[in-house]
């Protein structure tokens, strides 16, 4: 990544989009929108003083919403370029409220609220499309309870939970416990406030709140508004302290997730959604189970799938190593449903098709291996580029010309073409680069002759 930022032959335009493409191979005219970051790229040193002081907290999309960032932010810590960007949808200044803090604290004078989008026009001989993919939204399979059951996450969310630079520093805490942990400070604050209110009443009437409440007939409350308020505050305090002690009990027992279920083909190989195999997800489930076991050697994982597709150099061996050394069990069967116990434990309901029995098994955490699906905006980009999509919505190619799109001079590589892993994406990228170079050289030769 660093090399791209530094290479003298590469002009990097991040936070930008292609708006218009005209012309033909050898001579495309392209209009690019450079979206305003509201931070001057040349001045910003990436020091982070602005985000530290920014009062606006927003879910962090890079961490799949499992942590928060500020309204002025970098996409991720080691990102290139490291320039900060203002998220105008959330920024107080842009939402018409008084703020301007980031501009005040920026030593480099880089924050520019009046920046405008810029448009760049280019002339290029060839185009390589590498716009990648998106993961399938598991909400489309309601039986799996994604977002309803806290301890059901997607594989990409799980990557962030495993990461040392992720929201939990690589500790596999269950999202349900993290939620509880997050709520405790607010509850403590509200308890403090309510206790103070009660104290005031106690002083005024010279009676303990508990005694007052016990002695109080319900009808009386309506008669004296002040006492009704006292009773209400007392009820609220009881409620909050009960919840707080429940939460504290949960946190005392809080431990990392050690029993993991991986559910394969979520959206893939499913005629309701995408009939194709996404190719890499069996492997990333094995990888995630191996890493979880490295973090915590007591971790056991069950991978539920129709079969495990470990096609590639060293992949089968990796799968076997997972079973032999990382406590992975492979179960053949499709999961019918995930349900939740009152203590937030997810239970996987499945048929073991080898043994032909339906079983239910509780886990600490369930991870969904979601399908690789066309990226947002692919259709619009295809329109701009004047190229066709296939029936699933990926860019159309043919088996004989796997990196050529339907328009001469425009090539595609990586998951924008179809699901593939990193080594395949890299190989295709080199192929697309070679094809792009080839058409330019050919056009030059034609012109010369």
């Amino acid at each position: 990544m660093l090399d791209v930022g530094r290479h003298p032959n590469i002009k990097l335009m991040a936070y930008s989009e292609v708006e218009e493409v005209n012309g033909e191979v050898g001579n495309f005219r392209v209009k690019i929108k450079r979206k305003a970051r509201y931070v001057n790229e040349d001045k910003c040193t990436g020091c982070g003083a602005c985000s530290e002081k920014c009062p606006t907290v927003v879910p962090d999309a890079f961490n799949e919403g499992l942590s928060t960032r500020k309204a002025i932010y970098t996409w991720f810590a080691q990102g290139i370029p490291s320039t900060h960007t203002i998220d105008t949808e959330h920024c107080r200044q842009f939402q018409g409220k008084k703020c301007g803090i980031c501009q005040k604290v920026c030593q480099a004078d880089a924050v520019e609220y009046d920046q405008k989008d810029k448009f760049v026009e280019l002339s290029v001989g060839a185009i390589v499309v590498a716009t990648g993919y998106e993961v399938f939204n598991p909400n489309r399979i309601p039986e799996y309870g994604y977002k309803e059951i806290d301890n059901v996450v997607t594989a990409i969310e799980f990557e962030r939970l495993l990461s040392a630079s992720g929201p939990t520093g690589g500790h596999l805490y269950r999202p349900s416990d993290l939620k509880v942990k997050e709520e405790v400070p607010a509850l403590e604050k509200s308890l403090k406030k309510l206790s103070k209110a009660l104290e005031r009443f106690e002083k005024k009437y010279g009676q303990k709140s508990e005694e007052f409440y016990k002695a109080l007939g319900k009808e009386e409350q309506g008669n004296d508004p002040d006492k009704a308020k006292w009773a209400e505050a007392y009820e609220q305090k009881e409620e909050v302290s009960k919840r707080l002690s429940e939460y504290k009990a949960i946190l005392e027992k809080m431990d990392v997730a050690k029993k993991l279920a991986f559910i394969q083909c979520v959206g893939s190989r499913d005629i309701r959604f995408y009939p194709f195999c996404s190719g890499y997800c069996c492997m990333h489930s094995i990888k995630e189970a191996i890493i979880a076991n490295e973090h915590e050697p007591e971790t056991n994982s069950v991978i539920f799938g129709m079969d495990i597709r470990a096609v590639g150099k060293g992949f089968e061996e990796y799968k076997i190593r997972g079973a032999d050394h990382s406590s992975i069990t492979y179960v053949r069967g499709r999961v019918a449903e995930i349900i939740q116990l009152p203590d937030k434990t997810p239970v996987v309901v499945y048929e073991d098709t080898m043994e032909r029995v339906v079983r239910e098994e509780p886990f600490d955490l369930v991870i969904l291996a979601t399908a690789c699906v066309p990226n947002k905006g692919t259709k619009e980009l295809a329109g701009i580029l004047g190229i066709e999509l296939d029936r699933f919505g990926f860019f159309r190619t043919t088996q004989a010309n796997p990196v050529d799109t339907t328009r001469p001079g425009i090539f595609v590589c990586g998951c924008a073409d179809s699901p593939m892993d990193i080594p395949e994406s890299v190989a295709q990228a080199s192929a697309a680069a070679a094809r792009a170079a080839q058409v330019i050289v050919e056009t030059e030769m034609k012109k010369a002759s």
Binding site: A14, G314, A436
Partner: protein
Amino acid sequence: MSRDILVIGGGIAGIQAALDLAEMDFKVHLVERLPSIGGKMAQLDKTFPTNDCAI
């Protein structure tokens, strides 16, 4: 006629294509819609089957 090349998308595929072309001495314009390049790979902890770090 232009010798420049446009690469759209700065994930691992776009990065590789841009570097290859730059090394062949073509001028490359790499357009990424997010604030930084890296794509999905930047979000991965480690990669199979070697468990190397993703970034």
